[in-house]
């Protein structure tokens, strides 16, 4: 049996390479070794010219995930990450499939886990939609000279003035921070999100892991989540926030629950989640009290009762095939906001097969839901928030043109904090200190700097959105919501155009 051990050896596609002429190892520098939390880099003793033992950095060729932490931290710029993927001679059995099988069969077996969103080759519809711009007949608007308004109000609106208007969330930018739970991410990330939201005038989402007591002062800019595990849910919790979001599913793992291993459940996490220290935090796949839409309605109204109808209640679902009728049902069940999360949405941990193969793109899901709600004449009743796979400000605006009132961004938030999308969030070894609560790693997030980075993220995207709006001759973003006339498809087939509700370029 032992003879076979190497049959399952994973051939690492990445490894750091050291330029020893630049490297300062002779003076005892070992920053890369301490920075690498995956244990890829070690020190190798080496005899110097004068016979003295020196320690040079050495790649173990076993654990590199190309997170780029060592590259960024090396004071001498002496490291780069080499990408040398395994090649198979077989065109069908590519290294991905072969490597995954070895991974499953060589060790304990089981489900392959992975972090962040889907990486598959499915079409990124954003790239096939182009904005319109003003030429001659219609003056474009210069955002530096003219007011350009991107404020949004989320919540249920009546059909006409005079009827009661529901509680609203005021967003100064049409972008919010998506749900990422305490436990999945570091408390410092939460604090930075909360502070940045307060500074800019938007909202962040606690995720399902409770709302830490030290952050409750930011409640006015916080959306708290009620998920199937009900972690940290209490009357106080609900009332501490600006809105409550019921999480039915998320794009990275539709139909799947969550699992925070017991070793990650430290004292602050156990307090915030309201579970014993060291126990596994299991979120079941469905809510055990929601087996259909009428049960959801009860939960929505239970929360509304608890919060005295003062704050909006959102329902978050993953973008799945039947998203349009589901959205209509949620609207009729009394939700004020519907969040739709596309299959590209990120996560801390998800089964690889689910991430890659379940759900549908947000562009199509959103458009279908927006159309359905409009056709049923109930579009006013709910706000639509889109998320999952947004990579830049133009993606935000394209989703708004397809019917979103606002968007959630998750992965861009982490990238703004340094993340190199290495997909190893579930290991708790995040070298940037983002998805870990380990002492020594967690401190790598400095709340001040992280807050500044997130404010910059929102402001720079806002500026870009204003530029795009100005070029289209739009001065208020509400004139763009669902405004498919401002988009044209390039290289999309008829079916895709129909679902997106846009015309092909040239028509």
């Amino acid at each position: 049996m032992d003879d076979m051990k190497n049959n399952w050896k994973i051939i690492p596609p990445f490894h750091p390479e050291f330029d020893l002429e630049r490297c300062d190892y002779k003076n005892g520098c070992k920053i890369c070794v301490t920075e690498c939390s995956f244990g890829e880099i070690s020190l190798k003793p080496e005899k110097g010219k004068d016979g003295e033992i020196q320690y040079r950095p050495w790649s173990n060729m076993s654990a590199c995930n190309a997170c780029q932490r060592c590259v960024k931290m090396c004071p001498q710029n002496a490291i780069h990450i080499a990408f040398k993927p395994m090649h198979t001679s077989h065109g069908y059995w590519t290294s991905d499939y072969v490597g995954n099988l070895w991974r499953q069969t060589g060790k304990s077996g089981g489900v392959l886990l992975v972090g962040t969103g889907a990486t598959g080759p499915q079409k990124r519809y954003f790239d096939y939609m182009m904005f319109d711009a003003c030429q001659v007949t219609n003056p474009s608007i210069d955002p530096l000279r003219e007011p350009m308004e991107i404020r949004r109000y989320l919540g249920s609106k009546p059909e006409r003035y005079g009827e009661k208007i529901g509680p609203q969330l005021k967003l100064e930018v049409p972008i919010m921070f998506a749900a990422m739970s305490f436990g999945a991410v570091n408390i410092r990330v939460h604090e930075a999100e909360a502070r940045a939201s307060q500074i800019v005038g938007t909202y962040w989402n606690t995720g399902e892991g409770g709302f830490h007591k030290n952050l409750r002062q930011y409640g006015g800019n916080t959306i708290v989540q009620v998920a199937s595990g009900r972690f940290g849910v209490s009357e106080d919790y609900l009332k501490s926030a600006a809105a409550v979001e019921i999480k039915i599913g998320q794009g990275a793992k539709p139909g799947i629950g969550g699992h925070l291993p017991g070793e990650k459940v430290s004292k602050p996490i156990s307090e915030t989640r309201m579970i014993p220290e060291g126990t596994d935090a299991l979120s079941p796949a469905p809510h055990h009290d929601i087996y259909s839409i009428e049960d959801l309605r009860q939960l929505i109204f239970a929360i509304k009762e608890a919060t005295e109808y003062k704050i909006p209640v959102a329902v978050k679902i993953a973008a799945v095939h039947n998203v349009a009728p589901i959205a209509s049902g949620i609207a009729r069940a009394g939700a004020d906001i519907i969040v739709i999360d596309g299959f590209r949405g990120g996560t801390g941990a998800t089964p690889f097969q689910i991430r890659q193969n379940t759900g549908i793109p947000i562009e199509l899901a959103l458009s279908a839901a927006d159309r359905r709600l409009s056709e049923e004449g109930i579009r006013n009743r709910v706000s639509l928030v889109a998320s999952g796979g947004i990579q830049c400000s133009s993606d935000v605006l394209k989703l708004i043109c397809l019917g979103a009132d606002a968007v959630y961004i998750g992965t861009p938030v982490l990238i703004a904090l340094g993340c190199g999308v290495c997909q190893r969030c579930f290991t708790g070894k995040c070298p940037y200190g983002i998805t870990t609560n380990r002492p020594g790693l967690a401190e790598r997030i400095d709340v001040e700097s992280a807050t500044t980075a997130l404010v910059r993220l929102l402001m720079s995207w806002s500026e870009e959105i204003k530029e795009l709006m100005g070029s289209m001759g739009i001065s208020a973003i509400e004139a763009l919501r669902g405004n498919r006339d401002r988009l044209r498809g390039v290289g999309l087939n008829e079916e895709e155009l129909k679902i997106l509700g846009i015309k092909h370029a040239g028509t």
Partner: protein, 363 residues
């Protein structure tokens, strides 16, 4: 680029179509001969209690769709009178589609419970517009629209609008940019007694259209202008907003100003009617039986000049049109972007203003 003119006599004194013809003719530079049109109020005093439908049929009077449309109308309304709208082809406009005028009333028993007569008419208009080969050019009481392909003065001659007399006239000279020039695409656009002439391009069209479709308004005429008449109709007739608020919805103030003044009503109007905001450059005159509204986009990207001479109110893209008709007006000004000028005849009926001219509100 287009030209618009409105002449409104608040004493409801009737004037013939020659005045408006001259006023829009002098703005010839603003059009390119691909569309012109007029709306007249007070044209059918003997039938003022009936809905006057002007319907345009593509092709000639042998168009087979005519009988289909008329069968449909007969199934929904009582036709009191119908006739061909007289036209006078000339060397500039040698031919055009076939126009018919109907005076109609729905029977009370046709209406669904809770449905007003006007809702019913809107339903009928939308249904006809969806039918092939026919377009309802106007559908209000005691008013009518004459429009087509050509310079407006030629359209005026084609229909001999000098034969009609009205207390309010609006006119349009078209320079089409985003939709092809065709007879149905000329302005004014109407729904019931509301007519709009519009200079501009509406960048919010897609949003507005989707919102209107939720309430049964279908934009069939391939142009952005009709959304303005529909939005106004939905807001004032459907949601019972006063004209001032309806204008505010289409061209609201900045959030910054709303925050500063703490005006809850404005905030709510903007929150609720976000999808009804009209973006892009526009200058419009929107007329209805009881008055008119002049409105510019918030950034004032299109010219509109207003003036008052005695009991006549003018609005125009160019001052020259006003000076031509009334060389010494009392008062001439250029309204600010987003600030509507509202002329409301209905206040005439109130005791203190009886016999006086309408209220001028600069708001």
């Amino acid at each position: 680029m287009c030209g618009i003119v409105g002449i409104i006599n608040t004493d409801r004194k009737l004037i013939d179509g020659n005045y408006i013809r001259e006023a829009i003719r002098i703005q010839r530079e603003r059009g390119n001969g691909l569309g012109g049109g007029f709306a007249v109020y007070g044209a059918y005093p003997e039938n003022k209690d009936k809905y006057a439908f002007h319907i345009m049929y593509e092709g000639s009077q042998n168009n087979p769709y005519i009988s289909m449309v008329e069968d449909y109308i007969r199934s929904r309304m009582v036709i009191y009178h119908s006739e061909q709208i007289p036209v006078y082809p000339n060397d500039r406009i040698p031919r055009g589609p076939y126009f018919k005028r109907y005076f109609l009333k729905p029977l009370a028993e046709f209406l669904a419970p809770e449905q007003t007569e006007e809702d019913y008419i809107v339903e009928v208009v939308m249904a006809i517009n969806k039918m092939e080969g026919a377009f309802v050019v106007s559908s209000g009481k005691n008013m009518g629209v004459f429009k087509g392909m050509g310079y407006p003065e030629d359209i005026a001659d084609y229909f001999r609008i000098e034969d009609y007399r009205g207390y309010m006239w609006i006119a349009h000279n078209r320079f089409p940019t985003n939709t092809p020039g065709w007879w149905g695409g000329a302005h004014p656009f109407t729904i019931l007694d509301k007519a709009v002439v519009h200079n501009g391009e509406i960048t919010s069209y897609g949003t507005n259209k989707r919102w209107l479709e939720m309430y049964g308004y279908y934009c069939m005429l391939q142009t952005d202008t009709e959304v303005i008449s529909y939005i106004y109709d939905k807001l004032t007739r459907g949601d019972k907003l006063p004209p001032k608020d309806a204008c505010y919805v289409m061209a609201p103030s900045l959030w910054e100003d709303i925050d500063r003044t703490g005006d809850e009503k404005k905030k709510n109007l903007r929150q609720i009617y976000g999808p009804a905001i009209v973006n892009g450059p526009f200058g419009i005159v929107l007329s209805h039986s009881n008055g008119a509204i002049v409105l510019n986009d918030r950034n004032k990207l299109r010219p509109v000049v207003c003036a008052k001479a005695g009991n006549t109110f003018y609005a125009s893209s160019e001052e020259c049109s006003i000076r031509l008709l009334s060389p010494d007006v009392d008062n001439l000004w250029s309204p600010r972007g987003g600030e509507p000028v509202i002329i409301d005849f209905s206040v005439e009926d109130t005791q203190e203003l009886r016999g006086r001219k309408a209220q001028w509100s600069l708001w």
